[in-house]
């Protein structure tokens, strides 16, 4: 990963100097090495601050909307899974191809520092990955975890190491995550519950929501110019002004709004400060769409229309579809 960071810095400098781009989108170190944040770099000197390690989960795709608005050609580093979001934004006409230069950046899975801490590592000073082992250095000694235990949830649904859009690729592709199971396993578990249990599950889950809108802000499919939830005058604007029922409706509608366009990146669930299992609602829509209307992966390319803006004459009726789901 350190090598990749060096390649990134060199590439950023090269592209800026050759005037192929005016700006670079990458990650900058946070307060700790495990809380890197997305950042824009405007000149060659600043590019030395670019970092890349197992803690750069954020998808930079959405920042391209701003780049398009400013009409500034921007270099963006994209992990394989991030490229789906970029395609989706292109399809939704939210970004323009001429304003960005995509550099495919290899990824071997991002780690979840919360999981590492929950497993008992305190005052982490260093984390290194060796194959499928994660070695965590602390002042109290070294701890070793299996990578599977501490990977981000979204990386457990890894889509592989192919870039769906890239002007060039940095270095060699890395091995994709090997412990990807059935990404719908959690959805199926809920489907297997009784109606009462499902209701109780969602009531418990969605009651945690503080309506910070982080899930909306991070989502590459949720990119409306104006959003009803920003309107302070609207009764649905914020938690304080809202009826409690709005929480459930908010999540239902948020998930519905991106149905057919959700790339399944899992960012909504990752950024949720309350740990609401939001991604399950999106995954449920993806699962249903696949089952009712044929397999579809949003963001696979920038042209195939979403299943909700297309139809077949012999689609199942609503009741039939629900029963057929089994």
């Amino acid at each position: 990963m350190q090598k990749i960071a060096e390649l990134m810095r060199a590439k950023a400098v090269e592209l800026l100097q050759s005037s192929k781009a005016e700006r670079v989108l990458a990650w900058r170190a946070g307060e700790f090495f495990y809380d890197n944040a997305p950042a824009a770099f405007n000149d060659v000197d600043a590019c030395q601050e670019i970092v890349y390690n197992e803690f750069c989960p954020a998808n930079l795709a959405k920042y391209l909307i701003e780049a398009t608005k400013q009409q500034k050609k921007t270099v963006v580093f994209l992990k394989p899974c991030d490229t789906y979001g970029v395609n989706q934004l292109l399809k939704d006409h939210r970004i323009k191809r001429e304003y960005f230069y995509a550099v495919g950046t290899p990824c071997s899975g991002m780690l979840d520092v919360k999981k590492i801490k929950e497993l008992g590592a305190k005052a982490i000073t260093q984390i290194t990955c060796e194959d499928n082992k994660v070695i965590v250095e602390t002042p109290y000694g070294t701890k070793e975890f299996a990578k599977e235990e501490v990977l981000l949830d979204k990386c457990m649904m890894c889509k592989g190491n192919e870039y769906k859009i890239a002007d060039e690729e940095l270095g060699e592709k890395l091995e994709p995550i090997q412990f990807v199971g059935d990404r719908f396993a959690a959805v199926k578990a809920i489907e297997a519950m009784s109606a009462e249990e499902r209701f109780a599950f969602w009531q418990e889950e969605l009651s945690k929501c503080i309506r910070c809108n982080a899930c909306r802000d991070i989502c590459p499919a949720c990119s409306c110019e104006q959003c009803i939830f920003d309107n302070q005058e609207a009764p649905v604007g914020g938690k304080a002004a809202a009826d409690d029922v709005e929480e459930q409706l908010f999540h239902l509608i948020r998930a519905y709004h991106v149905a057919g366009r959700c790339v399944g990146c899992g960012e909504c669930a990752r950024v949720c400060p309350q740990g609401v299992k939001l991604g399950l609602l999106n995954l449920k829509f993806i699962k249903d769409i696949n089952q009712f209307y044929g397999a579809y992966q949003a963001g696979e390319d920038a042209t195939t229309p979403s299943p909700l803006v297309s139809y077949k004459e012999n689609d199942p009726e609503a009741e039939e579809a629900v029963q057929r789901r089994g």
Partner: protein, 146 residues
Amino acid sequence: MLKDAAKFEPKIVAFCCNWCSYAGADGAGTARKNYPANVKIIKVPCSCRVNPMFILRAFQRGADGVILCGCHPGDCHYSTGNYYTRRRMALLMSMLNFMGVAEDRFRVEWVSAAEGAKFAEVMNDFVVQITALGENVKLRDLRCKK
């Protein structure tokens, strides 16, 4: 006739498309087919005008059942509107089920302008079904823990 106060009278919202189902309701009237007054019709230009939020809002504001009626697939006044409706509503229905909320309070039916009798039949049947299910508590009370 005075209604028995103790008897549960469901509130039912029917979204009907202007071109087929609303005319179907008219047809039911002209043909003197009865259907219960529990059904309150809201006319929409096309069944695909109905946003999933309309359905959810109707439930939240006190409807016990919501039915969406449109032209038969292939007969849409705008050619294809109801095909989109069909996909959207299938997903919504499945999601209501997934959230543990009874999806049988919500129905999608295709009723043409010539099907006055079918309109009355569908509405009678739906009122019976919702009366049997009783008052809608969950969808109205789809709220956080207190």
